[in-house]
């Protein structure tokens, strides 16, 4: 398991591209927002938590189609499927690698981008906490979507269509934690819900992803 994780991480770091791409996309989306809604700092402060969450979500989505596709093309996915490691563990590791290379940098970059959008002082800590709790769910759900579309030639657009509706609960609760934190309200209820969703998704969805992957590898 650790060997697989370190292989995926090495590939992501050394092959370049994929690692920085999500971050750059996140930055650009955030920079474009003031151009589209205007530079009034009071307005930006109100929408900052939601925009940052949406940007992080889209940046996560961007790298999903390469999550399994590269291994599918060169055949290493077939080898992984016949390896002693259960396929459920393989997809969990894949999701973890995706989170470390995409989700975690987004979490770390979010406060910096929060400055650009004039996020209120109190909001920074809650933004980071909500992203930290919520992004693993995004990676795991995304792995399920990637497993569904791995065999398709032009799966990219279909992948977004399948995955985005599944992101709705995570986005609602995550953005709610960040929003409430920014205006100094109680955040424990949505945070608990968000944590519940992440825990449930991490525990159950790898089984669905592995089942789907088996069908695709048949």
């Amino acid at each position: 398991m650790i060997a697989l994780l370190s292989r995926d991480l090495k590939l992501a770091f050394r092959a370049g591209g994929g690692f920085g791409l999500g971050l750059a996309f996140f930055l650009i989306v955030t920079v474009l927002v003031p151009f589209s809604v205007g530079p009034q700092s009071s307005l930006l402060a109100v929408i900052a938590p939601g925009v940052l969450w949406l940007g992080a979500l889209l940046a996560c989505l961007l790298s999903l189609d390469r999550l399994l596709a590269l291994d599918w093309e060169d055949g290493s996915l077939d080898l992984l499927a016949t390896a002693p490691l259960p396929l459920e563990a393989v997809v969990t590791i894949k999701a973890l690698a995706h989170w470390i290379t995409t989700g975690l940098p987004l979490v770390l970059a979010a406060p910096v981008l929060g400055v650009l959008l004039n996020l209120p002082q109190a909001g920074f800590i809650w933004l980071v906490v909500s992203l930290l709790v919520g992004t693993p769910a995004l990676s795991v759900i995304g792995t399920f979507g990637a497993a569904l579309t791995v065999g398709l030639k032009r799966g990219g657009l279909l992948l977004s269509l399948l995955v985005l509706p599944l992101y709705v609960p995570t986005l609602i609760f995550g953005a709610e934690v960040a929003r409430r934190g920014a205006i100094g309200m109680e955040t424990s209820t949505p945070l608990l819900m968000l944590g519940g969703i992440t825990a449930g998704v991490v525990a159950l969805l790898p089984f669905a992803s592995a089942a789907v992957l088996r069908v695709n590898l048949r």
Binding site: F144, L148, T149, G151, L152, G155, L158, L161, L162, L164, P165, L166, V168, P169, I172, F173, E176, P190, M193, I197, L205, A208, A211, V212, V215, N216, R218
Partner: protein, 250 residues
């Protein structure tokens, strides 16, 4: 265990031939009764019920809105059951029935959304509000689109059936999650249930009877459409198999 399937068992219809024979026999019945119910229910509802004292004649869109909303959810539920049957027992008719039901479900969801918007404009003063019920129907609509797109995208029919049924299962869980998440996110404008059996706040009897007739009409129409479309899917697959056999033989 007996070797032959009991003729009266539900599973006998897993045989495509038997399914086609029976569905062809009962289809005229469903077409005619659904047509009758819809004509009677809609004419009764539109022309022979009094206007509501607050909502005026706009209340009459209820005869399209409520039945289609009901069927939009039940169509997904039917797809869920059919997908489960496919996963557990691998009956092709079941997978094809789920595939056949999806576009009908989309149509029902669209009717519910559009009639709701037309109703909402004079009543709430807006075509659209981000109300929990409206929002969850929009999300349901997106789930339908994804499900159909996945069916269309995959060439191998068995793979497509497997993947879409897993998507249907996972999607159901997430659809329910979204329903409650959306509730948490925004309190609504939409009225409560108008047809529950245990509450006082039901619609008045004059509206209630034609509404029931309309609902019956929509249910029968749904059954008829799904049977018909499933038959079409079975035949389309047979033609494909015949063509493939011809090509190999020649």
């Amino acid at each position: 265990m007996t070797t032959s399937v009991n003729r009266n068992s539900l599973w006998a219809y897993a045989n495509p031939k038997k399914f086609l024979q029976t569905s062809e026999r009962v289809l005229p019945f469903f077409w005619i009764t659904s047509g009758l119910c819809l004509v009677v229910g809609l004419i009764w509802g539109f022309f022979f019920t009094p206007d509501d004292f607050r909502q005026g004649s706009t209340v009459k869109i209820i005869y399209l809105h409520v039945p289609s909303a009901l069927m939009a959810i039940n169509a997904w539920f039917m797809m869920l059951v059919a997908s489960l049957i496919w996963i557990v027992r691998r009956h092709h008719v079941s997978a094809l029935a789920a595939r056949a039901a999806a576009p009908v479900g989309v149509a029902m969801t669209l009717i519910a959304l559009v009639t709701g918007a037309i109703w909402g404009q004079p009543m709430w003063g807006t075509w659209w509000a981000w109300d929990p019920r409206l929002t969850s129907f929009l999300i349901l609509f997106l789930f339908y689109l994804g499900y159909i797109a996945l069916w269309e995208a995959i060439e191998n029919p068995d793979t497509a059936a497997d993947l879409t049924s897993v998507l249907c299962l996972v999607g159901s869980v997430f659809a329910i999650l979204s329903r409650y998440a959306v509730n948490f996110w925004n309190q609504g404008l939409h009225q409560g249930a108008s047809l529950s059996l245990d509450k006082e706040e039901n619609v008045a009897d004059v509206f209630w009877v034609p509404l029931l007739v309309c609902i019956a009409g929509f249910v029968l129409l749904f059954v008829a459409l799904v049977l018909y479309r499933t038959g079409t899917e079975i035949r389309a697959r047979r033609i494909k198999a015949l063509l493939a056999r011809e090509r190999v033989g020649a």
